[in-house]
Structures are given as structure tokens and as C-alpha cells.
């Protein structure tokens, strides 16, 4: 027949004459793609730039870790391998220690890394001078982080004192392959050659040193098989991992963080989808009469549906392209946004796969959300030419099927993104709960408001406006309150963490900790301080079994949070501390319990149920010891006071075990630096920890992380605001008619504006208040249950957040309504009559 399947001019006309609705639709699509693409891109950048080489990230093909010098069998197994030429090995020691300037009047707790020649086995350590790391790092020298130079006012060539040794600063480290970002360790990096290890005088039994042996296997070697052989020789506390199996802290952090951002992106996607549906409904409602006329003159349902699918596809494509470009452009903002959490050298790294995945997902979501309004085109019958649409049509089976498909899609997306399906299921449940709660609360509030009779006519009209047919009031309230609850919750948790740990640092809480004091240094240490603080003996040990049931350290390590597989600090004393109380037992130690007793902190019972009489087996530096639980303690307040999981009696065998001493004191802020330097000069083995500095660093990191989260949550808010605009557009005709009716009946412009302003104000107020309610509950749960801190409600800030929400909703709502308010009565009346 030669008749074209699609009329290009018809499609073009529908797009150009749909103006604002088309624009909102494009913006919604763009927003959904932006959040997906930018987060995918961020993930790609991190993987490509920071985590791309797992060998470099973990330091070798096979990595051996231990908290104490490696056992003889493992050393022998490694020697055998190297002797046979199957692998090359390299030793690394890492620990924190104070570094002083040469005059010893300024000091800084630093992260020392002692490496043998040949380091790194994989990757490259970048130095500020551009020279090669192996060529620069030689005995007698140190390569330090810029922060150390800045804080101690030093330059390359100056000397620093580390332990008993004095070293020359040879260069500045810019980047190291196994530490691509620096915020996981407090204190700057200091590289020292392994040959200087003994000269430092800092390495003794019981010191907190992380021993690593990095192995580079020969070409073609079976890494897993070698690792298995080494595991057979490893003793308790020695870990043998391959670069494939090892999960670095940094990778874990970014995996979790990216997952959290992905959740926000999915949330934004849902909101954008609702916006797409709402704006498309508005667009089709505007075209309803034209569609009816076309049907009346013989256009088939297929013709109409086909053309509107093409319209949506074109607008969707345009939004997708814009979203992808904008998302890609955002990659350039990421290093600035992360403000130092990521290295400035991070390059945008959006892979084709991620871009395609994002776009496909976006298109899928657009299609699913657009399906119902497009399907409803079939409901426009030729008879609509004569009849005016009165009530919104009911949701059909197709709408419910489409909603079910969307729910499944989003649930699948969340579960797919998370490795831990249990947590994924909880998060999904939480998100669904938030949406359901928002829906129920919105419905309840709207019903309640409908029953109240207000005196103000404008307020009454505004309330009636919320129930206007086609008004997406409930959808707006759900989306806005859910987004605001996430945003407010993050803000409240941040404020609470800040208040607890940063701003209201308890006046009498210790602010300077000293660890690794030797027992014979106590008197001299007190003399140097000028007073005798309380000293806490610390004996390092592992828990090996509970009631003869062995603890599997590997299995324990896979747990989230604290675990029983790690090394614990035991202490001995006979009294309860001021901030302790007994949960079980009448005294710290019972008279009727035979043998060695141990008092356990309730935190341990969260990892494994325990009760009085249970037997705990420990490995105290090679010596097996069994003790019976005599009491269970709890802490009466969260503070920065020292606490111990396991407390033994004062006269127990722990007294004779190898131990170090720990103390915590409080000094005026100004005196901390001087005291640190004095102690560091006199007791090189003692590590002072300036808690106030750590807290300040923590606050900075917290601030940066919340900034990133806020940025992505803001995209969700933008989607919510687009829903407001699309809802106003969807009810444009009804609103215009109301405006004109008010005017005809004698209302002034001020009254009409007041009605619309109040309507938006009510939406802002309700969504703000609901968001605040959910966020307060959520933030309280997070603060009390996860961070275990007292919760503050911040009423003034909360009210400000609600006020800001109201203002934002009013501004957006009124901006979208301006053209409606300006309509001349006659034009609208004619339009209404013609309909």
C-alpha cells in the first residue's frame, strides 16, 4: 500500500505541543539515568583506578599475615619455596608509633611500614620527586607522607626520630599500591627499610605489629596449591591468603559504600518512574480529546498506541542520552565531591558495560512505568468527543500486573547488587516498609484532614484541592516523605555522632591514651606524667573454645562487626569500674566457682550466648588456659573510658603472663602535644594516642561521607519535586478551572494564590513531618542499636528541616502553577465548555 507505518510529522507535533509534560518526562528519565550511570561510573572508576590490580592491592600472589613473628614451620615452608625458586618472598612490618622531630619538641603518631629491598612486588610506590622507590629507600632513611612534614614543619632532608633511631627524610610518598586511599589509617605513612628494624628498638614480644610475608610466585605456578601447602604449615593466628581470596578493608569499604549509593540510585529510579508515569498521564490527558477525534475519524487503536509509544520512546531516548552525558560529566565532580576520600588522580572510568547496563535498566524502568498510561490509551473511545471525562478510571488487572513486575524488578536489582542476600532482604524489607508506612501514614493524615472543618476558607479550599481527581497527592506524599526521611535520617545520625564523639567530648573523659607501657616502666612513667594514673595491664590472647566447642577463626572473620576469632586484650583486677554494672552474678568473681574465673562483658554474649558456669578456653601467647565465667558485666554509659571484654582475678596466673600496660589520662588540649613528645622521647616503645585528633579526623571523614550520600539523596528529592510538577501538569485543566471559578465568583488573585500556596504548603508540611517522624525513628534505632550512643532529637534543626521542605515544595509548586494562575477566565471557560 505504501502507507508509512509511522507518521513522523504526527509524532513531532505531539512532542512539540506537549511542552512542559514532555520536558518533565525527559527530566525524569534523565534523572533516573544520571543516578544509575554516575554511581556505575563511580564504581568503575574505583575498580579501575584503585582496585584494578588485586595483586598490587594485596601486595603479592600469596599473602601471609600474623600478629606475632611467623612460626618456625611456616618460615620453613616459605624458605623451601624460595629455595626451590617457586616464589620470591618479601617481609613487611606495620605498626603505629610516634615520630618526633630532631629537637624532640614535636611529635606525631604515624603509621610505620618497614619493608625489605624489592618492595613492592607488584605495582609502584609513587614518590613526589618522581624517583624510583627502591632506589630511594635505603637503611638510615625514611620516606614519609606529606601530612607528617606539614604537622611537624619538616622538609625532605630533615631528620626524624623513630624509636631509638634517627632517620633522614629522603622523599615524600604520593601513592602506594596497597594503600590507594589514606583515610583508613589515622596518621601519616612512614616507610623505613627493614634493615633498620632492630635500631628502632620498637619490636618486642607483645607489641602491636602486623607481620606480613608477601610472596610472588614463579610464572605458571599453581597459586592455590602453594597457598594450601603453606596453610598446612600455618599455626593459629597465621593467615594464608591469595590475592584472589583476600578481601582488603578498602575493597570491603567501597563495596559497602557503593552498594549503599546503589540503593539510593534505585530509590531515585523508583521516584523517577513515578514521575514518568505521572507526566505521561498528564501528557495523554491533554491529548485525550485529540485522540478521541482521531478515533472518531477512523484511526485504529494500534495506530494511536504505536504513535504514542514512538513519542515516549523518542522522549525516553532523549532523556537517556542527556542522563548518560550528565552522569558521565558528574564523574569529573566526584574527586571534588569526595573531598580527599578518593585520590585526586581518580579518572572518570565509565565502562561501556556499565553505561549499557545503566541505560538498559533505565529503558526497562521507563517502559514498565510508561506501560500503564500507554495501555490506557485503549480506554479513549471515539465517544469521548462528546463526553467530558468526569472521574479517574479505575486501576485494572494490567496496572496491578505492571506494579508487580516493577516490584519484582526492583527487588531483584537490590538483591543482585548485594552479595549478602540476608542483608539485601532486610534492606529490601526496610525500603518496602518505608514506602508502605509512608503510604499508610499519608492516607491516614489525608483522611483525618478531610474530617476537620477549618475556619479559613482558603485553607478549606486547599484541603479540598488535595483530593482533586487526578491529583497525585498520595504519590507525592509517599515519595517526598520517603526521600526526606532518608535525607533527614543521615543528617540526624551525623549530628548525633558528631555530638557524642566530637563536639560534646565529655569534660572528664580521658583524651590521651598510652599503650604498650612495659611493667618496669610504670614508676618512671608516673614520674614523667607528674601523677599516677590508673594503669590497666593488658595480656594478649585468643579465645580458642567455649565449653570445648572450638572457635573457627576463619568462619568468625566472615561475620559482620566484632568476632570471636580475633586477638583479645585480657586484664586482671578485682573491682568493678565506675561505669560497669553486673548483669549476671553477685560479684565480679564467685566464691563457689572452682578454678580460674573470668568476668565477661555483655558485648561478648552478643557474639555467642554465655552464662555463668560456661567454660572458656584461651590461648595466652602459646599457653592454653581454661576459665569459668563468673559474672557478666555491662557498661552503664557509652564513654571513651577503657573497657575490657575479659577480666581475670587480680591474683591469677595472668599476672605472670607477658603483658603491657595501658593508661588513659586527661590533659588540657594545649598540653597534649608537649606531653606526647616528652613521653615519646623518654619511652620510645610507648604509643600515645591523641583521641581528640582521632576524633577530629573521624569528624572530617564523616562529613565527607555524608556529603556524598546527601548529593545522591538530593537526586531522589529532585525526582520527588518532578512528581509535584508532573502532578500539577496532570491536573492543569482542573486547577485552571478552579482558578477561574474562584475568580468568577469574586475571589481576588490573593485568595487564589493563597489556596494554591496553602495546598503546596500542606504537601510540604505533611511530607516534611512524615519524613521527620520516620527519620527520627530510623536515626534513633541506628544511633542506639548500631552506634550505641545516646540519642538527641534536635528539635530546632528538625523544625528547620521541615520548614525548608515546605519552602522548597511551595516554591516548586507555585512556579509550576504560575501560568495556571494567570489564565484569563474566558479562555478556560470556553475550553471547559468545548470539552
Amino acid at each position: 500500500m505504501g502507507r508509512p507505518m509511522l507518521h513522523r510529522r504526527f509524532i513531532f507535533r505531539q512532542i512539540t505541543r506537549s511542552g512542559k509534560q514532555a520536558l518533565v518526562l525527559v527530566l525524569c528519565v534523565m534523572l533516573s539515568i544520571v543516578s544509575l550511570v554516575s554511581i556505575s561510573g563511580l564504581g568503575d572508576s574505583i575498580r579501575q583506578n584503585l582496585l584494578k590490580d588485586a595483586r598490587a592491592l594485596h601486595g603479592g600472589d600469596i599473602i601471609l599475615h600474623s600478629r606475632s613473628p611467623f612460626s618456625a614451620p611456616l618460615e620453613a615452608a616459605v624458605s623451601k619455596l624460595t629455595a626451590r625458586g617457586e616464589a620470591k618472598s618479601l617481609r613487611v612490618l606495620e605498626f603505629n608509633s610516634v615520630v618526633l622531630n630532631e629537637k624532640k619538641d614535636a611529635s606525631l603518631l604515624s603509621n610505620l611500614k618497614l619493608v625489605e629491598s624489592g618492595y613492592p612486588l607488584y605495582g609502584k610506590v609513587t614518590l613526589a620527586s618522581g624517583r624510583s622507590f627502591p632506589a630511594v629507600l635505603a637503611p638510615g632513611g625514611a620516606i614519609v607522607g606529606q601530612v607528617l612534614l606539614d604537622r611537624l614543619h619538616l622538609s625532605v632532608g630533615d631528620r626524624i626520630c623513630v624509636g631509638k633511631a634517627t632517620l633522614v627524610i629522603r622523599d615524600v610518598v604520593v601513592n602506594e599500591p596497597d594503600r590507594p586511599v589514606s583515610f583508613f589509617s589515622f596518621g601519616p605513612r612512614v616507610f623505613i627499610h627493614m634493615d633498620d628494624a632492630n635500631r628502632l628498638g620498637l619490636i618486642s614480644r607483645g607489641s602491636r605489629i602486623e607481620y606480613s610475608l608477601l610472596l610472588k610466585t614463579a610464572q605458571g605456578a599453581n597459586i592455590e596449591k602453594i597457598a594450601e601447602t603453606l596453610r598446612a604449615s600455618a599455626e593459629k593466628g597465621e593467615r594464608v591468603e591469595t590475592y584472589r581470596s583476600a578481601r582488603s578493608r578498602i575493597k570491603r569499604f567501597f563495596d559497602n559504600f557503593l552498594f549503599f549509593l546503589s540503593l539510593i540510585a534505585i530509590f531515585t529510579l523508583i521516584l523517577s518512574g513515578i514521575g514518568i508515569q505521572s507526566s505521561l498521564t498528564a501528557l495523554i490527558r491533554e491529548k485525550r480529546r485529540s485522540i478521541a477525534v482521531m478515533r472518531a475519524v477512523g484511526a485504529t487503536g494500534g495506530f494511536i498506541s504505536g504513535h504514542f509509544v514512538a513519542v515516549v520512546a523518542l522522549l525516553g531516548l532523549f532523556g537517556t542520552i542527556l542522563g548518560t552525558l550528565f552522569g558521565y560529566w558528574l564523574q569529573y565532580l566526584m574527586p571534588a565531591l569526595f573531598g580527599g576520600l578518593l585520590p585526586g588522580t581518580l579518572r572518570p572510568g565509565l565502562s561501556w558495560l556499565s553505561a549499557t547496563q545503566g541505560i538498559v535498566l533505565g529503558v526497562l524502568v521507563v517502559s514498565l512505568f510508561a506501560f500503564v498510561p500507554l495501555y490506557r490509551l485503549r480506554e479513549v473511545k471515539p465517544v469521548a468527543v462528546f463526553r467530558k471525562e468526569t472521574a479517574a478510571s479505575r486501576k485494572g488487572v494490567v496496572a496491578y500486573i505492571s506494579m508487580a513486575a516493577l516490584t519484582l524488578l526492583f527487588a531483584g536489582m537490590i538483591l543482585w547488587q548485594l552479595e549478602d542476600k540476608r542483608i539485601g532482604a532486610w534492606l529490601l524489607l526496610g525500603l518496602a516498609g518505608l514506602i508502605v508506612l509512608s503510604g499508610l501514614a499519608s492516607q491516614a493524615v489525608l483522611s483525618l484532614l478531610g474530617k476537620i472543618s477549618f475556619k479559613s476558607l482558603a485553607l478549606r479550599q486547599a484541603l479540598r484541592g488535595l483530593h482533586r481527581p487526578g491529583n497525585a497527592t498520595r504519590a507525592i506524599l509517599i515519595t517526598l516523605s520517603a526521600s526526606f526521611s532518608v535525607l533527614f535520617c543521615i543528617y540526624l545520625v551525623e549530628k548525633n555522632l558528631n555530638a557524642t564523639f566530637v563536639r560534646s567530648y565529655p569534660a572528664n573523659a580521658p583524651n590521651l591514651f598510652f599503650i604498650d607501657i612495659q611493667p618496669d616502666q610504670i614508676q618512671q612513667f608516673s614520674d614523667t606524667l607528674g601523677f599516677a594514673p590508673r594503669y590497666y595491664p593488658v595480656v594478649r590472647a585468643r579465645l580458642t573454645a567455649i565449653n570445648d566447642e572450638k572457635i573457627d577463626p576463619e568462619a568468625q572473620r566472615t561475620r559482620r562487626g566484632d568476632n570471636l576469632g580475633r586477638t583479645f586484650n585480657l586484664t586482671y583486677r578485682d573491682d568493678l569500674l565506675d561505669d560497669e554494672a553486673l548483669l549476671a552474678g553477685t560479684a565480679l568473681f564467685g566464691k563457689n566457682i572452682q578454678g580460674l574465673q573470668v568476668s565477661v562483658l555483655d558485648t561478648v554474649t552478643e557474639m555467642h550466648p554465655l552464662s555463668i558456669g560456661d567454660r572458656l578456653q584461651f590461648n595466652i601467647q602459646g599457653v592454653p588456659v581454661e576459665a569459668t565465667v563468673s559474672s557478666i558485666r555491662t557498661r552503664t554509659r557509652e564513654s571513651i573510658e577503657p573497657f575490657f571484654y575479659f577480666v581475670f582475678p587480680g591474683d591469677s596466673l595472668l599476672k605472670d603472663a607477658p603483658q603491657t600496660i595501658f593508661t588513659a589520662i586527661r590533659l588540657p588540649r594545649a598540653d597534649i602535644g608537649k606531653m606526647q613528645s616528652r613521653i615519646a622521647a623518654k619511652f620510645p616503645n610507648v604509643t600515645p594516642i591523641d583521641v581528640t585528633q582521632i576524633i577530629a579526623d573521624f569528624a572530617t571523614i564523616l562529613e565527607k561521607l555524608t556529603l556524598v550520600i546527601r548529593f545522591f539523596t538530593a537526586l531522589g528529592i529532585a525526582a520527588g519535586l518532578l512528581i509535584i510538577i508532573s502532578s500539577i501538569l496532570a491536573t492543569r485543566l482542573a486547577r485552571a478551572a478552579e482558578t477561574v471559578y474562584y475568580k468568577i465568583l469574586g475571589a481576588r488573585g490573593r485568595f487564589v494564590s493563597a489556596v494554591f500556596t496553602l495546598e503546596n504548603l500542606l504537601i510540604g508540611l505533611l511530607s516534611g513531618l512524615l519524613g521527620l517522624l520516620f527519620s527520627q525513628v530510623g536515626a534513633m534505632i541506628i544511633s542506639v542499636r548500631i552506634f550505641k550512643i545516646d540519642y538527641r532529637f534536635y528539635p530546632a534543626q528538625s523544625l528547620l528541616m521541615v520548614a525548608a521542605t515546605m519552602l522548597m515544595v511551595v516554591i516548586v509548586g507555585m512556579s509550576a502553577s504560575v501560568s495556571i494562575l494567570r489564565q484569563r477566565p474566558m479562555a478556560v471557560l470556553r475550553e471547559q465548555t468545548e470539552e
Binding site: T390, A391, L457, Q461, R464, G465, H467, R468, P469, A734, A737, E738, V740, Y741, Y742, K743, I744, L745, G746, A747, R748, G749, R750, F751, R824, P825, M826, L829, R830, Q832, T833
Partner: protein, 235 residues
């Protein structure tokens, strides 16, 4: 210039639109005077400019040329806000398509103009009018729950609640069957008398025109003729 007895005076009213380079006249040089209490019919074929004339006389639209006086006030250039008190207190509107606020029930629709002027007796007045037009028991029904005839009765009550000087009615029976048309027309005319209002009505119906004091006939935007049905009113 408004004369003393006239409640409404229009002089040389024109309304035109520019489409491309052409000036299209909907109304051209219409002058008329309406006396207080008069029942004036504006008749004419479809497209003759009847509704446009009504919208210019009632201040719902602005003329391209010419002026409109309500009693001695020139309302031609008044802003929307300045026109508001006229629409609220001096005018009542009845439309073919009812134009009720869909989110308000019958009583609320009727009360609305009285509430706008702050009348404390708005509810009582509305209830009296509801009873008067035979809508008892329909107070809380929303427009979509009412029939066409009932909607127009609500619109009629709304137009009268503030005791207007002039009622502008644009084909008030145009959307109704003959039975409802007769009822509405009787109510409208009876209530006009009770409230002493001037009535300016656009209609096609010769039967209605026969009950008016005067009819002006529009053709192609101009007054093509005028018929005085009672002796009291001269053209």
C-alpha cells in the same frame, strides 16, 4: 457614558483577534444600555458573538475597543482584583456547562461566594436557597453525584446567594432536556423577580425570548435587530 437609569451601558464594543496578518472581528461596534430590573435576551446564530458579548459585558474578557459601565463605574480597564468585588456582589453567573467546583459539595458551592465576602449567614442562606429550588437532601452531594438539572439549580443558587444586581446567563438550559429546561427557566425568572435582579441571557430559544423584556439579535458580530416584548422598554 452611562446614563442615570442604566445599570449597564456598553459603547462601541469590539473584539477582534489577529491571525497572521488578518484582523478577525468577533464583535464590531456594539452599543447597548440595560436598565435595572430588565430581562434582556442576546440571541443569534452559532458564532454570531453572543457569548463573547456576554463575557465583555460581565468583565470576564476585555474588549479590543469600546467601554463598559456598571452603573457609573467604567469597568473596562479594571484589573482582575478590582473586578472581584463586582463579580462577587454585583454579578451572578449561570453557564450552560454549570462550572461547579468539583471538589465542593452542593452546599459548599452555593456558600462559596457568600463566604468570600465574609457573610456569617452563608450557610443559612445556602440552605434556604437549596430548599427554594427543591434540592433538599442533596446538600452534601458533589457535582458528579448530581444530574444536569440539579447541577444547574445549584449554579442558580450560587448566582443568587449574594443578591446580585445583574445575572449573566449563558444558555442556561442548553445542556438540559426540555422538562428540566422549563423548570430551570421558571426558577430563574421567579428568583430574578424575588431578588430584583437584572437578567442578561444568551439563548437560541424563541420561547425563552418571548418571556424577555427585550431581545437583541446578533449577526456576524453586529446587532442585526432589536425586539421589545414589553412596552416599558424602548430600543
Amino acid at each position: 457614558m452611562a446614563t442615570h437609569l442604566n445599570i449597564l451601558t456598553a459603547r462601541d464594543l469590539s473584539k477582534s483577534y489577529r491571525i497572521a496578518d488578518r484582523e478577525i472581528y468577533i464583535l464590531e461596534n456594539i452599543s447597548l444600555e440595560v436598565q435595572a430590573g430588565e430581562f434582556l435576551i442576546v440571541a443569534g446564530a452559532s458564532g454570531s458573538g453572543k457569548t463573547t458579548l456576554l463575557s465583555l459585558l460581565s468583565g470576564l474578557d476585555r474588549p479590543t475597543d469600546g467601554r463598559v459601565w456598571i452603573e457609573e463605574t467604567d469597568i473596562t480597564d479594571l484589573t482582575e482584583d478590582a473586578l472581584a468585588p463586582y463579580r462577587n456582589r454585583s454579578f451572578g453567573f449561570v453557564f450552560q456547562s454549570f462550572h461547579l467546583v468539583p471538589s465542593l459539595d452542593a452546599r459548599e458551592n452555593i456558600m462559596f461566594p457568600a463566604e468570600l465576602r465574609g457573610d456569617p449567614l452563608a450557610r443559612e442562606k445556602a440552605d434556604r436557597l437549596i430548599a427554594r429550588v427543591g434540592l433538599d437532601g442533596r446538600h452534601t452531594n458533589f457535582p458528579h453525584q448530581l444530574s444536569g438539572g440539579e447541577k444547574q439549580r445549584v449554579a442558580l443558587c450560587r448566582a443568587l446567594i449574594n443578591t446580585p444586581k445583574i445575572i449573566f446567563a449563558d444558555e442556561p438550559t442548553g445542556n438540559l432536556d426540555s422538562e428540566n429546561s422549563a423548570v430551570i427557566l421558571d426558577l430563574l425568572l421567579d428568583l430574578r423577580k424575588e431578588y430584583g435582579a437584572t437578567l442578561i441571557m444568551v439563548t437560541h430559544s424563541p420561547e425563552i425570548a418571548a418571556r424577555a423584556d427585550r431581545t437583541i439579535l446578533l449577526k456576524d458580530g453586529r446587532i442585526a435587530g432589536e425586539t421589545v416584548h414589553g412596552a416599558a422598554h424602548a430600543p
